[in-house]
Amino acid sequence: MQVRRRSPQVTTGPSAVVLAVLIAVLTGCLAGGSTAAGTARPPHVPTSARGAPVTAVLALTGNAPVAGPGVAVLAHLGGIGAEVVRAAPATLRTLRRDARVAGLRTDAPVRTSTASVDSSGTGVFPGNGSAHRPGDRRLAGR
């Protein structure tokens, strides 16, 4: 049983290996397969190490860093209760059930919210477009 494709930053101790073995056995049993030697299937890979690592962002329930076997913490963003980590998808799936994690999401593209740069004609200055007339309305009771 080997843990494969481990990032150099990932910490894995003896307890992690034991845990990985347990997860692998449980996963194999739940899937109805066999982990016994001698089958034609390839050696079972611990769930926590399956798949190439991906970068994900965790939203934390508290402010303590979420570190653990198979999880490389790339940045702890304590001001906004988040953490950027890198781990195998299966490990992230396990993290999702961690009480310290409110939720998580793989890193994703973010784009600006401009619809277009317009190529001709006139335009408006922002103040001219905001129809500002101070005091001509009152708070509407929301």
Binding site: G103, A108, F125, D136
Partner: protein, 366 residues
């Protein structure tokens, strides 16, 4: 106030020499995998703008006079002429950014008060098919809790609201077309009801707004015909409307120092001119006047703003958790590398986001 964008270049209207533009942080390296390769977040240097978007927004927000350009009597290019703008650069010169880079920028803001307004003209795809909490919306909540008003674009997809614009505690802004006598909601402006909360909160001018771009920026090079004879450039989107609104928020805070984000949101919504269009939220942005708020204490305003507290209702939280724990993992488990910065090039969003075509093919008649 902080402009979380592609950086900000010096222009005649807003520049570092004036002291009104300062550099905060550059996290753009993270979008290209910097965290994985040991890149540091940069907090020293000039975080200029090779793409152009952030400069355009900053000048809309706080740009002063432009030599040779008549912006109207006693007016500048932007809204809040006395505001001090902090550049929080989260995208590189190709306009590339990522969730982690934006979050790192917001984290920097959280630890650098007295920044009290964030202008966020950015949008991520929703985390799955349903609206739900994610790290970006959680970051907005953290900032708001810390006393920072977060002004967010509704996004440019009609009929839906972008992430984090759908966050109830954000002041979400749609775009209005103010080029005609009667303002109307721009056809591209995002809108929707998210778990009972109407978004956007309001709309602001966001069609054909004039501002500045660095001459050598990606946008300027790609769309040279977008420059007007005056030297200014025109742009449309909820980004622009967000910058305008952030400027008004800065003005409001100048007059009401220490107002809570809830009070700010309530004041903005209360001052807005109602429009007969649900996509406009409370209506068209206006600067809250003396009659809009002074006879209502902040505590009352906080309660009035409790439309956002629907977020904390058990059902709401349950719905959010369900939304982001299912769909996200569908994507994650199916791919070992669902996204990399390389796949998100400037080219991929220039076609849709920056093309002049949507506006010059008859949508507005211009």
């Amino acid at each position: 106030m902080a402009v979380v964008d592609t950086g900000i270049a010096d222009t005649p209207a807003l520049n570092r020499a004036s002291g009104r533009l300062v550099d905060g942080v550059d996290t753009s390296g993270l979008a290209a995998g910097g965290l994985s390769t040991g890149h540091e977040v940069d907090t020293e240097g000039v975080f200029s703008d090779g793409f152009g978007h952030g400069t355009f927004m900053a000048d809309l927000l706080a740009g002063g006079a432009v030599p040779g350009v008549d912006t109207g009597a006693d007016r500048g290019l932007g809204v809040a002429l006395g505001a001090r703008v902090v550049s929080v650069k989260v995208a590189d010169d190709g306009g590339v950014t990522s969730l982690s880079a934006v979050l790192a920028g917001l984290d920097w803001v959280a630890s650098h008060r007295p920044i009290d307004v964030v202008s966020l003209s950015l949008a991520a795809d929703r985390p799955g098919g349903a609206y739900g909490a994610d790290p970006l919306t959680m970051a907005v909540r953290h900032l708001r809790h810390a006393g920072v008003s977060v002004v967010v674009a509704a996004g440019n997809t009609a009929g839906e609201v972008a992430d984090p614009g759908f966050e109830p505690q954000a002041l979400t802004v749609g775009a209005a077309d103010t080029t005609e006598k009667a303002p109307s909601v721009a056809p591209f402006s995002g809108a929707g009801v998210v778990h009972g909360v109407q978004k956007p909160d309001l709309v602001a001018a966001g069609v054909h707004l004039q501002s500045l771009l660095p001459a050598d920026s990606e946008i300027a090079r790609s769309y040279p015909t977008a420059q007007l004879p005056s030297g200014l450039w025109r742009g449309s989107g909820t980004s622009q409307a967000t910058a305008v609104t952030a400027g008004v928020v800065a003005m409001y805070l100048g007059a009401h120092p220490g107002a809570s984000p809830a009070a700010v949101s309530a004041a903005m919504r209360g001052a807005a001119a109602p429009m007969a269009d649900s996509r406009a939220g409370a209506g068209m942005l206006a600067v809250p006047g003396s009659a809009d708020v002074p006879d209502v204490d902040v505590g009352t305003l906080d309660r009035q703003a409790l439309w956002a507290d629907g977020w904390d209702a058990p059902g709401w939280v349950q719905a959010l958790n369900a939304a982001w724990s299912t769909d996200v993992w569908t994507a994650t488990s199916g791919s070992s590398n669902p996204w990399s910065a390389k796949s998100w090039s400037a080219k991929s969003w220039s076609a849709k986001s920056w093309s002049a075509e949507p506006w010059d093919d008859g949508v507005t008649g211009r």
